[in-house]
């Protein structure tokens, strides 16, 4: 297939996944803010820390309230990864390759875009739970339509690569920020701790999975173990890399030696590793290294298939 088409498909799914992740972070952030009361700026800006956007947010001069943070990340036209920009970018990429995806996929993503226009009509721009639910649902729908209609061939593989590279990035970021804030340092009690950790799990649709797996109180180490190593959980790093490696294997081999080598290395750490290995370097260092490698892998995939030589 055309290199340019591969690039559009890959970014179409990365942007959609990014929009969904942003909605997840904001949704959980909003419910946490209700728990922690008004004065806690640290909670309010947490979505900005996770997405590395604290500085540009400060530059807008908005007050750091949960509501303003949510509006910024959901609707700000100057923020390249705001939900609205991600959905627009996703649709633009789809429009560029509407001949390479099924008509159901195109109609679904175009319909999302039309509904988005209706939601912002008259400056309404909602940033509440209902809106975040909608974003998640549209993303789920697109994945479902994709799953049900497209041939398992290169377009599918590039779409899947985009989804899982983006998702791995997101899970690692959430884990890194949430775990870095030691609950004790906040003077939190067991109850606050419980809500914080269950919020992490809910933001990656894993609360039920945790209960089923551990059948015990929510504990920070187990949360990390689940989100990093569990092979059955669709948002764990391990699961994401099973998919990355599988899809890379289906694509033409010759141009992608660097990407495949790096992916295999990252995958091996997740497949054969355990929490004890992480303890050696520290969770945060482990996650930071993972995030850096994930960026390098994205670049290698790009160089292999999408750059116009």
């Amino acid at each position: 297939m055309l290199s340019r088409v591969a690039s559009h498909l890959y970014w179409l799914s990365r942007y959609l996944e990014r929009a969904e992740n942003m909605a997840r972070i904001l949704d959980v952030g909003a419910s946490l803010a209700l728990l922690s009361g008004d004065g806690d700026e640290t909670s309010a800006i947490e979505p900005l820390v996770i997405t590395d956007t604290l500085e540009p947010f400060r530059a807008t001069g908005r007050p750091a309230t949960p509501e303003q943070v949510a509006r910024y990340l959901a609707w700000d036209p100057t923020h390249p990864s705001s939900i609205v920009n991600c959905l627009e970018a996703s649709r633009e990429n789809a429009r560029a390759v509407r001949g390479s995806i099924t008509s159901e996929m195109w109609e679904n993503i175009n319909d999302t875009w039309l509904q988005l226009a209706a939601k912002r009509a008259g400056g309404a721009e909602p940033a509440d739970a209902g809106y975040f639910e909608w974003v998640k649902e549209r993303s789920h729908l697109f994945r479902g339509v994709t799953f049900a209609t497209i041939r398992r061939d290169q377009p599918y593989q590039f779409i899947r690569l985009g989804t899982f590279l983006e998702r791995a990035d997101n899970t690692a970021r959430i884990l890194s920020v949430k775990q870095a804030r030691q609950p004790s340092a906040l003077g939190g009690d067991d109850l606050t701790d419980h809500y914080r950790l269950s919020a992490v799990l809910r933001s990656v649709s894993s609360l039920e999975a945790y209960r089923d797996t551990y059948r015990d109180a929510i504990d920070a180490r187990r949360v990390a173990e689940l989100l990093i190593f569990d092979p059955t959980l669709p948002r764990s790093l391990r699961f994401c890399f099973d998919e990355v490696v599988r899809n890379l294997r289906e694509l033409p081999q010759a141009p992608a030696r660097t990407a495949r080598r790096l992916a295999a290395h990252m995958h091996a750490l997740l497949e054969h590793g355990a929490l004890d290995d992480v303890d050696g370097v520290g969770l945060d260092a482990f996650l930071q290294r993972f995030l850096r490698n994930n960026v390098r892998l994205g670049e290698a995939v790009h160089a292999a298939y999408m750059e116009l030589k």
Partner: protein, 487 residues
């Protein structure tokens, strides 16, 4: 709108009404439709139209309008009342189109090689050789089977007496066929009962015929065909993507192609892949910055060299524009007589060439009655429709005309036929034209009908989608003929 039945209005005198005869009785091929319509309420029709709009918007069958803000995507209004053509009329139109397009291809091969028509003195030599659309690069370059215009969209209108006239032969990158296909799909979905009443000749196989046509343009056995688009910001992008998908060929932009050792390749995830046929949907001027416009970002450097060596086919060929230029149009009947030894089946509209002093004098004296067009104009821009223009507009146009008479031709204002159309006031007559799509491969194929464009404003004669026009599904039905004046 109401629950009362729709009572279609007839066209005013002097206008040919496609549906009704002079006594307001439905013509034979419209009788079943008229019966059906009599039982339909305005509310029902409005609901159907709303459903169609919703589906078109969801599918993204939209059109970007020049001069509007970026990101503007508009629907081309699709009317829910079909335009119906009786089979015997269509069969005659089809013969006329085959004849016309055959002669035009003979003409193109001739002017780039032997120039017999010029030597015979039928067309002034300087009108061809100094024409901006005459492609010097094509002189002496052979194209497979001598086919230059593979895809032709011929604009046909119907005068007050019912006679069909050819208004324009679009030989460069005619568009609109995707609307023909979408309209049919939509009408079958909205009104399945109508398709049980009528045997409408199918058009859905157009993409298959187009692919056959494009494959036949190559000399190789199983050629790789691509569709070259300027990209998603082009107004006709929907059509490009649609046709590529329907044919199962790659939709490429200039940056996806490159030329190596005088062969054309596309950049793929598997490495370079050879391309044999390019269905270009960009102007020939833009296809190769080395050969034509150096500022073109849309083209492929070196493409012309590969083309001239016969290593790639381009459809339509480079240099076809010289034959659909409005200054050459008046000679098409002569071409038919010269190359085929036949009398033209389809009529040309009488045309005054402002380059000729006596014609210019006539045009200047009758500006208020005529339609004056730029020789290279398209899309309804830069033209004067005398009868609907103000005195000031006519005066302004006269200045432009006199400053550069060679740039203009004039034609009588045709009383375009009208067809009942669902508008605010109910079902009322609106002016229409017809663009059949002619495919020239190993043989000439035309799907029955084509695209009917309709001027939605009352009294307007401008059907262009860029100027408030809409479209209609066009049916060729096996019913006894309506009316057509003898040629």
């Amino acid at each position: 709108m109401s629950e009362s039945a729709l009572t279609p209005l007839s066209a005013p005198p002097g206008i040919f009404d496609e549906m009704f005869d002079a006594a307001h009785a439905p013509r034979p091929h419209y009788r079943d439709y008229a019966d059906w319509l009599a039982a339909i309420s305005a509310d029902h029709m409005a609901a159907k139209r709303a459903e169609a709009d919703l589906i078109f918007r969801r599918i993204g069958i939209t059109f970007a309008v020049y001069g509007e803000q970026g990101g503007t995507e508009r629907l081309i209004p699709s009317d829910v009342v079909p335009r119906i053509i009786a089979a015997d009329e269509w069969d005659r139109l089809e013969k006329g189109l085959v004849q016309r397009v055959t002669a035009i291809n003979r003409f193109l091969a001739d002017i780039y090689h032997g120039r017999e028509i010029l030597r015979a003195g039928l067309i002034p030599e300087e009108q061809i050789l100094s024409n901006g659309q005459y492609a010097a690069a094509m002189i002496g370059t052979r194209v497979p089977r001598d086919v230059y215009a593979h895809i032709v969209g011929v604009d046909i209108v119907r005068h007050g007496d019912g006679t069909y006239y050819v208004l324009e032969d679009n030989l460069r990158v005619p568009s609109g066929v995707s609307y023909m296909l979408s309209n049919r799909k939509m009408m079958m979905r909205l009104f399945p009962d109508l398709f049980r009443r009528y045997r409408v000749r199918p058009v859905e196989h157009y993409p298959a015929l187009l692919l056959q046509t494009l494959r036949a343009a190559a000399e190789t056995d199983s050629p790789t065909v691509v569709l070259l688009t300027p990209g998603r910001f082009n107004s006709a992008y929907f059509e490009h993507a649609f046709l590529a998908q329907q044919m199962g060929v790659e939709l490429v932009e200039g940056q996806d192609l490159f030329v190596k050792d005088a062969c054309v390749y596309m950049r793929t995830t598997d490495g370079p892949k050879r391309v044999d046929v390019i269905y270009r949907r960009i102007d020939a001027d833009f296809i190769d910055p080395l050969a034509f416009r150096p500022d073109s970002m849309l083209g492929v450097p070196g493409l012309m060299a590969a083309y001239r060596l016969g290593n790639v086919a381009i459809c339509n060929a480079v240099g076809t524009g010289v034959a659909d230029d409005k200054s050459i149009y008046p000679y098409v009947p002569d071409m038919i007589r010269f190359y085929l030894g036949e009398e033209p089946i389809l009529r040309n509209v009488p045309t005054w060439q402002c380059r000729q002093p006596e014609d210019l004098a006539h045009v200047v004296a009758h500006l208020g009655e005529l339609v004056v067009k730029e020789v290279h104009g398209a899309g309804g821009y830069g033209m004067l429709v005398g009868p609907t223009s103000s005195a000031q507009e006519i005066a302004d146009f006269r200045v432009r005309l006199l400053a550069d008479p060679e740039n203009y031709i004039a034609q009588p204002t045709l009383a375009l036929s009208s067809c009942p159309t669902f508008v605010e006031e109910g079902v009322a007559p609106r002016h229409i034209d017809l663009r059949p799509f002619v495919l020239v491969g190993r043989e000439i194929r035309i799907v029955p009908g084509g695209l009917t464009r309709v001027a939605l404003r009352r009294g307007s004669l401008v059907v262009n989608s860029s100027q408030g026009g809409g479209t209609k599904d066009t049916w060729v039905v096996d019913a006894p003929g309506g009316f057509e004046a003898a040629p």
